[in-house]
Symmetry: C2
Amino acid sequence: MTDRTRLKRLPKRGVFDRAAVYDILDEGFVCHVGFAVDGQPYVIPTGYARVGDKIYLHGSAASRMVRSLADGLDVCVTVTLVDGLVLARSAFHHSMNYRSVMILGRARLVTDPAEKTEALRAFTNHIVPDRWDAVRPMTSQELLGTSVLALPVEEASAKVRSGPPGDDEADLTWPAWAGVIPLSLEPGAPVADVHVGPGIPPIDARQVVNRRRRAS
Amino acid sequence: MTDRTRLKRLPKRGVFDRAAVYDILDEGFVCHVGFAVDGQPYVIPTGYARVGDKIYLHGSAASRMVRSLADGLDVCVTVTLVDGLVLARSAFHHSMNYRSVMILGRARLVTDPAEKTEALRAFTNHIVPDRWDAVRPMTSQELLGTSVLALPVEEASAKVRSGPPGDDEADLTWPAWAGVIPLSLEPGAPVADVHVGPGIPPIDARQVVNRRRRAS
């Protein structure tokens, strides 16, 4: 943890231990990748997966994000899990419960085919556990057409807000409901592709989501 | 729409009309704000609200984000709504359904007290409809302690992926389930603050979330 990731505001929300950072990274699956080209920042949502002490990103070799990161630009990757709306008796104390991780650093283009395959496997299985072994194996052409980037989870910090609203003492009798409305990303009923034949067992959406969460 | 927001890859996913951008901004409530200080990008999750052709952000006057944006740094604000996991018969065609908006520009510090109040009202009511009128009025000290930034929604673009997996024709008979697991941010049972008295009516979490979504 460095000066750049040390939280300037609200240090009570700062969490620096590695296990807490990993837990958040393992529960999420969409990150926001920030990089600046000629002073103009871009923030791109994309998937990721953690393997050990790094996260992998991927994309087309032609994408601006991949080209910029492969060039060694400074990057910031942020993962945010929204846990709830915090309703206070004053507008001022309204807040959100969330867990977020910010990683600073520079990414490295993964060129070793074995590491690249391992990263794509992690990527697929992070979204749906055990999915890699259930699908048609990747072709060498697909492997070539996909760029994989590795970013070390070294300069990283987590921010967490949880619990009830922090109302001023004098407001506690104000006649408005106050508390937390929990929020979570929940699965709906799976929509099978029209070509799924009658012999294919259906997928259990709840299990997919819960197993990813439990992995964290 | 400008060259910088014109999508370099996957133009089929690009959406440029203003109504589509506004719909996504109105359904979301967490954005990721990107800015670079001395070449180092930062990506900060924070709340926002749209009023007409701009979005408002807010924070403590002492925060790095507020100071940087008030100084007129180039900024990128991205809002991402995750709609589903797209399971294909090959790892390569796995994807996500999502809707996202990217806004480039420079923010302006809001100094006019009337506009500032209006922004904070929009902010509060964006999270919970009609909340502003239900809570204890904002004090002048709270108003002073909060910085509000306005960012025009001019240089903006939306990206949308929806629908089934895009499997290769040859893979359609591969024996794995394929399709979409829809995902949405759903409310759980509200957790009342311990000081909520018996005379306060409970809040309807489902209604809070649905009313914000319908506003879009």
